[in-house]
């Protein structure tokens, strides 16, 4: 029964969030807590020659200054430093040796009795470096582009498919062709909560760690391996995460430093990064993309070339799926998709909301718009003409694909039919108005996960899994699924997450949490239901003594006969019969690979944008944005809408504002603050409209839900870029579209 699934219930953690009770990693205050402040490298490449910490150490309250010179011996092999999201290569090791590999690298940790003393002491430490030449510019080094190394990550991030057909011949013969180049800047996640770890040093050296992470088990794995501590002595807790967007998929260096200090000092330590230091680890990589499209005179796309050159660090090969989407969205038979990396003296890039997806699709969907214009076909009509029911890369049908319906409903909501296709044809006073649209796509993935369900002696249900809620609504959605599966009111269901003592779940990323953990929650509640039913049958005078499980339903805190709801046993009576003990089940949910591999599984969107541009001054305002989403079953329309709106805000921010600008002479991101790295503010956001298109999918997972974390952003930058072209007649192929580009 679905009393809650599909209903817009309020977030179950809402009260904690609006009253300030929700505690994040840096907010667990324990007695005798010491504070660590990180010192970041002043140079980009070279080595440390001398560290003088004498002034700092002379200060009362300074406990220690940790550097590569005095760090304890730690795990030797690269493998020990590999977390669940580590790309191929040698993970960065903080305080490993004197070598500097990138600007802002942590070179020392000052630990003191108070935060202020540590901060002061950090300013007293003198470090001498010997500099070497560095290379940080993708553009200047793109002739070094090479194929990425493959590794375990390739399973989730497949390399481009082999070329198919004969692109060159068909493209050269095509009557209508476009070739364009797209340049995207580096971006940083900048979640509102800065990275922090509080390590509580317990008796016998056990550690309880409050970490900012998208997966407590991932942090546990890392700490356990690097510091050679048994799993049972490392508990990682992370009930609330103040935004992450991919940045907390990998343990960041403050975790390493806090654990190191706590173990060496044998006391509890907190290390928080500064906002400036939020620019000293993973980022969305800069990319250069080239797209060539050919079509016949009828507007049928026949040839497609999509190449992306991206950056990575010198020590790891970070990859993302940038170009494959082209082959999934469009049907040409003659295709070359290519993806290369240039290793630079930067930190390894890191998945950032719709990693690769928003990058590749932003370029692709602009190129498609350019081709449609060249053909003189309405961009929406062009996409319908070149619609594919199959993923052409894998040559598989989609498990479901209501993109056509997204186009239809989105266009209707937006009023696309009233558009004058002529660029510069729409005005509002001195402002140019532009309408643009684009498609979005992301994977609908499911991973294995475990969950536990407990009917407690007080008749309430506790369900748990070591997943995360980074603002996505995991607490709420899982509560809904559990409540519906066992016929409980949500008020009687408690969902717990973010704790390594709970059953194992994967890191929260890739929009797979609802599919993955939701399926596990559903499975374990069903298993618990079966156990409860067995107990109910044994009750004296049970109405179910001769009834099969499939003949009952769970409703109103009871087990009821489907045929006659008057025949029922309350769950309280069932648990009461269990000798004073709670009834518990633990289950594992695995994706049905046999079935899933026969299909391509994706979530789709159609995005329509209206921009208003001051022609003389170049300022762009996104006045309206409509996103129509085909994301399978929507478990909670309220939190789902929030996720899509959030993605749309990100899309506006990416299209118009976000850019981490590196001064390549010094190899450092110079706008490393929230004053100069611009993200959208309230005044940037106007009318945002979300349409969820009905989509029934029995293949993706038992819930039929596809995940919404990434899809919200994917089509937005291209829709805006295309609207800017429609308004001004100018193709801006370099993001962000700042006013100077339109002068």
């Amino acid at each position: 029964m679905t009393q809650y699934i599909g209903k817009p219930i309020n977030r179950v953690d809402g009260l904690d969030k609006v009253t300030g009770k929700a505690r994040y990693a840096a907010e667990f205050n324990v007695p005798e807590l010491a504070y660590g402040v990180v010192i970041s490298s002043a140079i980009t490449k070279g080595k440390i020659v001398r560290i003088d910490a004498s002034d700092a150490l002379s200060l009362e309250g300074v406990l220690q200054v940790f550097t590569h010179e005095n760090r304890p011996k730690l795990a030797w092999f690269d493998l020990s430093y590999k977390d669940q999201d580590a790309p191929p290569g040698s993970p960065f090791r903080p305080l490993h040796d004197e070598k500097i590999k990138y600007s802002g690298q942590p070179v020392a940790l000052v630990v003191a009795e108070t935060y202020e003393v540590a901060r002061y002491a950090a300013s007293l430490i003198q470090i001498e470096y010997e500099e070497e030449e560095h290379e940080t510019s993708l553009e200047a080094n793109k002739d070094r582009a090479r194929k990425p190394k493959s590794g375990l990550a390739s399973a989730l991030k497949p390399p481009p498919p082999k070329p198919r057909g004969d692109f060159e011949e068909v493209f050269n013969a095509a009557p209508v062709r476009t070739i364009s180049r797209y340049v995207h800047s580096v971006e940083h996640h900048n979640p509102m909560e800065m990275f922090a770890t509080t390590v509580v040093y317990e008796k016998k050296g056990k550690l309880t760690i409050y970490d900012k992470t998208q997966g407590a088990p991932n942090s546990q794995l890392y700490v356990s391996q690097v510091f050679n501590i048994p799993f049972r002595d490392v508990r990682v807790i992370s009930p609330y995460v103040g935004g992450a967007f991919g940045s907390a998929l990998r343990p960041q260096y403050q975790l390493f430093l806090a654990v190191l200090a706590a173990r060496e000092l044998k006391r509890s330590v907190r290390v928080s990064l500064t906002r400036q230091q939020m620019f000293t680890f993973g980022h969305r990589p800069a990319t250069n993309q080239t797209i060539a499209l050919g079509a016949n005179a009828d507007g049928e796309m026949t040839a497609m070339y999509h190449e992306a050159i991206s950056e990575t660090s010198r020590f790891e090969d970070y990859t993302e799926v940038v170009v494959n989407w082209s082959g999934m969205l469009y049907p040409p038979e003659n295709v070359i998709l290519d993806y290369k990396l240039v290793p630079l003296d930067v930190y390894t890039p890191l998945d950032m909301r719709a990693p690769g997806g928003v990058t590749g699709v932003s370029a692709l969907e602009c190129a498609v718009d350019e081709l449609a214009y060249k053909l003189g076909i309405d961009p929406l009509e062009f996409r319908l003409k070149n619609y594919t029911e199959r993923d052409m890369n894998e040559d598989l049908p989609y498990s479901s694909k209501e993109l056509r319906e997204c186009f239809r409903q989105g266009a209707e909501r937006f009023g696309w039919a009233k558009r004058n296709p002529e660029p510069r044809s729409m005005r509002n006073g001195s402002n140019l108005i532009g309408w643009g649209m684009a498609t979005g796509i992301w994977d609908a993935m499911q991973m294995p996960a475990r969950a536990e369900a407990v009917l407690m002696v007080n008749g309430k249900l506790r369900v748990s899994s070591a997943t995360a809620d980074i603002g996505t609504g995991t607490y709420t959605v899982m509560t809904q699924i559990a409540a519906d599966t066992l016929g409980m009111p949500v008020e009687d269901v408690l969902f717990k997450l973010g704790d390594t003592e709970l059953p194992l779940a994967p890191i929260q990323g890739g929009s797979w949490t609802v599919a993955t953990v939701g399926s596990a929650v559903k499975a374990v509640c069903e298993d618990l239901g079966k156990t409860l039913f067995k107990l109910a049958k044994k009750l004296p005078g049970s109405p179910f003594s001769k009834v099969d499980y499939q003949d009952v339903v769970f409703l109103d805190k009871s087990i009821q006969l489907k045929a006659d709801s008057a025949l029922r046993v309350s769950l309280q009576d069932v648990v009461d019969s269990n000798g004073g003990r709670a009834v518990r089940e633990t289950s594992t949910s695995l994706p049905n690979m046999l079935q899933q591999r026969k299909y391509a599984r994706s979530v789709h969107s159609a995005v329509f944008a209206e921009v208003q541009i001051d022609e003389e001054l170049g300022t762009v305002k996104v006045t309206r944005l409509v996103s129509a989403i085909a994301g399978g079953r929507i478990i909670n329309p309220k939190t789902a809408r929030s996720q899509i709106i959030g993605g749309m805000v990100w899309g506006i921010s990416k299209a118009l504002e976000e850019e981490s600008v590196m001064d390549h002479q010094v190899g450092r991101f110079m706008n490393h603050s929230l004053a100069e790295y611009h993200v959208a503010v309230n005044a940037d956001i106007h009318e945002l409209d979300v349409v969820f298109v009905e989509e029934d999918d029995t293949i993706v997972n038992p819930l039929g839900a596809k995940g919404l974390g990434e899809i919200g952003i994917v089509g937005v930058p291209a829709a805006i870029s295309n609207a800017v072209f429609h308004a001004t007649g100018k193709r801006i192929r370099e993001l962000p579209i700042t006013l100077d580009k339109l002068l």
């Binding site: 309020n10 977030r11 953690d13 809402g14 009260l15 969030k17 609006v18 009253t19 300030g20 009770k21 994040y24 840096a26 907010e27 205050n29 002043a42 020659v49 002379s58 200060l59 108070t114 935060y115 202020e116 003393v117 002061y120 300013s123 007293l124 003198q126 470090i127 001498e128 470096y129 010997e130 500099e131 979640p191 509102m192 909560e193 800065m194 609330y240 103040g242 935004g243 992450a244 906002r275 603002g471 996505t472 609504g473 929030s642 996720q643 709106i645 959030g646 993605g647 805000v649 990100w650 921010s653 603050s673 929230l674 004053a675 959208a680 503010v681 309230n682 005044a683 956001i685 945002l688």
Partner: protein, 178 residues
């Protein structure tokens, strides 16, 4: 060879002296022994365990640390606790009231944020709500565009802005289409 020494030579290395600071926080008088370098934000979070007020940048660039000082919204990261001697400070923990039956009565904005899902990760939320209380006290916002502009000192990286505007305009009884 490059050397980074932030301090010039003549500055002596020593700790600042502490003094007694009296603040009224959420109606309760608090006395703290603090060095002048402790910001109001750190005093709340690290010395009083009032962690509802958030640190999002520590430089006045995000608004997560917004509290009300004598009814006015400010960034608590950019003021020293000692500078607020004698002031009356309201944080997110002090907005809800508890009635005689010990029932918690949320501030209407807190309730509206829940109803409108005006948050996601929740980290900027206390600052948003305190800022909105300040906005209402100021009485300058007449339209939703005014709310957008006057709430722009509070960044929400999750992008809940439309819902934040919905929640505030409902409580302020401002037409949603203004």
């Amino acid at each position: 060879m490059q050397s980074t020494s932030i301090l010039s030579a003549e500055v002596t290395v020593a700790l600042p002296e502490k003094s007694l600071v009296t603040l009224t926080i959420n109606g309760e008088k608090k006395q703290l022994e603090l060095a002048p370098w402790t910001t109001l934000l750190d005093a709340l979070r690290e010395y009083l365990d009032l962690t509802g007020t958030k640190k999002g940048c520590d430089h006045g660039q995000c608004g997560a640390c917004t509290v009300l000082v004598d009814g006015k919204r400010i960034n608590s990261c950019l003021t020293l606790a000692v500078m607020k001697e004698g002031a009356s400070i309201t944080t997110i923990e002090g907005l809800a009231t508890v009635d005689e039956n010990a029932t918690v009565q949320l501030h209407p904005l807190q309730d509206a944020f829940i109803q409108h899902d005006a948050y996601q990760c929740g980290y900027c939320t206390p600052g948003q709500i305190c800022s909105a209380v300040g906005l209402m006290n100021e009485g300058r916002a007449k339209t939703t565009d005014d709310i957008r502009e006057l709430m722009s000192g509070n960044i929400c990286r999750c992008g809940a802005y439309p819902h934040i505007v919905d929640a505030i305009s409902e409580v302020m009884q401002i037409d949603k289409n203004s």
